[in-house]
């Protein structure tokens, strides 16, 4: 596993986060089951069977996310990224994704994986990027005026003014 070769600690945290859970990942019309078998990540073509969580999106959305045209919250709110699981397992899915992304910053092999995905000759060329259809402040919320006033009063804002 590319993450384990670059960052054994991150790989261990990933295994601990996932545990013995199984997930189905669907991209366009392809679907796989993923789970850990010991220290190894197993990826198999999806068959019927129970999974603990499921994520589904499409290639265009992944590329729009990688290129910063949309935020994750936009993809979810626009229905371009679906995640189904119990609240705890949804949380574990996103923690697992964060561990992989964080590790990729110092793992050239993972960065190459993203490039391979982008340039896959078996898939259609990238379409025009699709930005979010609307702005939806979610987290963290912007400070309300009275909060800003309090922060100003307590001199807790950066130098030079009101922001």
């Amino acid at each position: 596993m590319r993450l384990g070769a670059a960052d054994a600690s991150a790989a261990a945290r990933l295994r601990e986060t996932v545990g013995d859970r199984r997930a189905r990942i669907r991209l366009d019309d392809e679907s796989v089951h993923v789970c850990f078998r010991g220290a190894e990540l197993e990826v198999r073509k999806a068959r019927r069977g129970k999974v603990d969580g499921e994520g589904a999106t499409d290639r265009q959305t992944v590329l729009d996310l990688l290129d910063g045209w949309i935020e994750v919250k936009d993809a979810i709110l626009d229905g371009r990224l679906d995640v189904h699981a119990s609240p705890e397992d949804v949380h574990r899915i996103f923690v697992a994704i964060e561990i992989v992304i964080d590790g990729s910053a110092r793992a050239p092999a993972l960065q190459a994986l993203a490039r391979d995905f982008r340039r896959d000759p078996c898939r259609e060329a990238r379409a025009r990027p699709r930005a979010a259809t609307r702005r939806t402040p979610w987290f963290p919320p912007r400070a309300e005026p009275d909060e800003a006033e309090m922060l100003t009063r307590l001199d807790l804002l950066p130098d030079g003014g009101e922001n």
Partner: protein, 333 residues
Amino acid sequence: MIGPSTLRPPTLDDATAPAYKDCLHLNLFDHASGAIGIVNVSLTGSPADDRSRAVGAALFHTEETGWTGNLEVRGLNEARIERAGIALEQVALAVDQGAETVTASARLPDDLLELDVTARAQVPSVAIEERVPLGPGWFSWSAVGRLSVEGEARIDGRGLDLGKATAYHDHNWGRWHWGDDLGWQWGAFHAPDDGPAFVLIRMTDRTHTRGEPPALVAYLGDLRRYFVGSRVIVRYEGWFDGPIRRIPGALAALHSDRAEPRLPANVHVVADDGVDHVTLEFQARGATQIVTADPAVRGYGFIHELVGSVRFEASLAGESIDGEGLGVVERAD
């Protein structure tokens, strides 16, 4: 006139090599259309470490399209690194000190931007070769406050002649890790034609609550004036509430807590040394956040670029001037 632009890679016995940073930067201000461009190429990390990266960013902001362009991250062995230039597959920037030019190109059609420009220095460079403290590390810096531009951009399929544009260029290098307790506030403001240019810089801590005194350099023709310390007052007002493009998307997703950064809507600068004075009023109309990952340690930096319009009023060497132009304000933490 341009210099020193030679990249400064660490020697093999340099124990601080993992913190190595080297960056060539170009801002483009197209006064005819209001478009503003940012091209940046950089090296980060020890040349002996295969995790070290070469990064190229090319971004353009127009009122009609918002932000186009993107950021490219490669291994050092995938980049063509020259004495004063870095070329990646999609973004390149090089300085020719003899010709006094900076050449930049971008091939990012998937992100709606292509660019070919050559900028020529109109004023002498300012250089700080000393190691200026930057958090626990240091940096050095050279800058050319104003360059003329030839070339064009292609933004969302439409050609944009940049013959009326002006540019700002700098080269900075040093040792720091992204995620260290450091930050800076910087700005470049240009009037069209042969008007003035202004460059603001201030080093801060990561939270921007403590900082070194600011400095402002004003250029008008062959004239150059420096304002430092208490002679410069920088005031930020309001919050920018427009959409913010964050790149690269994967690191932006990792830092969803930074999706709504508190950025100023307006920046006011007053510089007065009792003889000369400058007043700048910058109004932001676009913002982007570039998330930087350190390849050697687990740390991230956030560089915010605000683009917009500026109104200026100044008295320099007895000449009074006022007008409007374009500007970029950068806040990093």
